[in-house]
């Protein structure tokens, strides 16, 4: 029997008593819960990783203008920018993440990780990581993706991974935590360090509301993906150094659940509050939303 991913402490106990790799219980969970074979799971992960790498590439090659026009080739601008604020790798992390996420906004092929709204973060993190550390074998990255999946499973159970339920902290926050965990794993961090990186990431993204302009997953979503990737690396660096979040990861996730539950509905994907409620956002709405709509009487369809 695999564990059910109700808590990080359960995951830790399982690893310590059975002396198996961190990703092993996630694999078992997928086999038991989804009825897939081990081979199928590795194959699916391999395909997902390939689609992620493609998304980054396509986002940098093809024209990335969204139907609304709000997204307009931002990744390429960052790539071509002559002023590098924090070095080449930092710049790369940003434009890789932006590229994958812009492709999502422009109806391209992506992997939901954990959702489509946050689909730039894992590709940005993993492609940058594998380029900076070419010695990490691909198999190790796939194992790291399993670790990420385990992290998201627990967050989903204890809090939420959806902006409509828990705000953006739940969506981009979870993706960043998945990214941080994968980085720490791939760079040889132990289980404790992986969990610390998750705790630090979620602490850093706590309280973030979901407020997409005109209800489209474009503004502020695309840029939030980029900064979430940065937070993933920051948290991984701190955790790998052996520093601690102080508050245990399960408690941090519960705090996120609490914040999400008390967040008002105008901050949960309804486009009624925050950035979506600014005068400029309201102007944009007039242009991008369907204007010819019939209204029906109560109840009638």
């Amino acid at each position: 029997m695999s564990i059910l991913f109700n808590s990080f402490s359960e995951w830790k106990n399982h690893i310590e008593t059975h002396n198996v790799p961190v990703w092993q219980p996630v694999l078992e969970y997928e086999i038991e819960q989804k009825g897939r074979t081990e081979n199928e799971i590795w194959l699916k992960l391999d395909q997902a990783y390939a689609v992620m790498k493609d998304a980054v590439k396509t986002g940098l090659e093809k024209d990335m203008t969204s139907i609304s026009g709000m997204i307009n080739n931002g990744a390429k601008k960052v790539r071509d920018c002559k002023v590098s604020v924090l070095g080449e790798n930092f710049q790369k992390l940003l434009y890789y993440t932006l590229a994958a996420k812009e492709l999502n906004s422009c109806m391209g092929r992506i992997v939901a990780a954990p959702t489509a709204g946050a689909s730039g973060i894992m590709p940005g993190v993993l492609t940058t990581l594998s380029e900076i550390h070419p010695d990490i074998p691909k198999q190790k990255i796939l194992e790291g993706m399993l670790v990420s999946a385990g992290i998201a499973l627990i967050i989903e159970k204890r809090a939420s991974i959806s902006g409509a339920v828990g705000g953006c902290q739940a969506e981009t926050g979870t993706a960043a935590a998945m990214g941080a965990g994968a980085i720490v794993y791939c760079l040889g961090g132990d289980l404790g360090q992986i969990f610390e990186s998750v705790a630090i990431t979620i602490m850093n993204m706590l309280g973030l509301i979901c407020d997409p302009v005109a209800g489209l997953v474009e503004v502020p979503c695309v840029k939030r993906n980029a900064s979430a990737s940065v937070i993933a690396f920051a948290s991984a660096q701190i955790a790998l150094a052996g520093d601690s979040a102080v508050i245990p990861v399960d408690e941090v996730i519960d705090a996120m659940g609490e914040v999400g539950a008390s967040m008002e509905t105008q901050y949960k994907e309804t486009a009624l509050g925050g950035i979506a409620n600014t005068p400029t956002a309201r102007e944009i709405e007039k242009n991008v939303l369907v204007q010819v709509v019939e209204e029906v009487e109560e109840g009638e369809v």
């Binding site: 489509a116 999946a149 939303l289």
Partner: protein
């Protein structure tokens, strides 16, 4: 948690919508010559921005949720020879926030399907030609339209049982007593082709549609 692979921007506005279109087409049984699509409520205002209009067309053309042609679905309608029209309706409070109605036609043949997109690519089909139903197209599904004769349900479930076919859900809906009934049966495993043919050949059976699970 990693996956599905899909066309953006959103699993409920693209993925789920493609699946509704695809299932509608499967229910229709062939490529429609024309489709009239109505987007309700939350979908009504954002369907263009989210590309749900392209997504529903893509589904009606038989594409999967990860098909890169979804973005160019409007161009693809010309190749397939399908005409289409779109309409937006707000405040349909009896319907789900993300509801879509599709009317498909070919010559005299007409079918109308109402579906909802529930997030994560999940859908429910709630109406076929005015008959209420509720299925997700995630398992094998059979839709039988038949004259409402006595004992017909028992007869059909017997055939399924003899095929070792476990029924997961079943809904029956009638339009008037002794008139026409629609049975929607979701099954855990598939039905033998010969049983399907047998069902179709019964004189009180008008039509049988058999759907394989439509992948998210």
């Amino acid at each position: 948690m990693i996956g599905p692979v899909m066309i953006g921007p959103s699993s409920s506005h693209t993925g789920g919508v493609v699946r509704i279109g695809k299932v509608a087409r499967m229910i229709f049984g062939e490529q429609p010559e024309s489709a009239s699509i109505t987007f309700y409520n939350s979908f009504a205002r954002t369907y263009e921005g989210h590309g749900s209009d392209r997504a529903i067309i893509a589904g009606l053309l038989g594409m999967n949720t990860d098909d890169e042609r979804i973005k160019q679905a409007f161009d693809e309608t010309q190749k397939a020879g399908m005409l289409y029209s779109m309409k937006a309706v707000m405040n349909a409070s009896a319907l789900h926030p993300n509801a879509i109605r599709v009317l498909m036609q070919k010559g005299e043949k007409k079918t109308e399907v109402l579906g909802i997109s529930r997030g994560g690519g999940l859908i429910s089909i709630l109406e076929i030609d005015g008959f209420a139903c509720n299925f997700s197209a995630q398992s094998k599904t059979m839709i039988i339209t038949a004259h409402d004769v006595k004992g017909s349900i028992a007869f059909i479930t017997n055939i399924l049982a003899s095929d070792d076919c476990n029924i997961a859900t079943m809904t029956v809906n009638r339009s008037g007593k002794n008139d026409i009934a629609k049975l929607v049966i979701e099954m855990d495993s598939g039905l033998k082709p010969i049983s399907l043919e047998y069902l179709k050949s019964l004189n009180w059976v008008i039509d049988v549609v058999y759907l394989e699970n439509v992948e998210i």
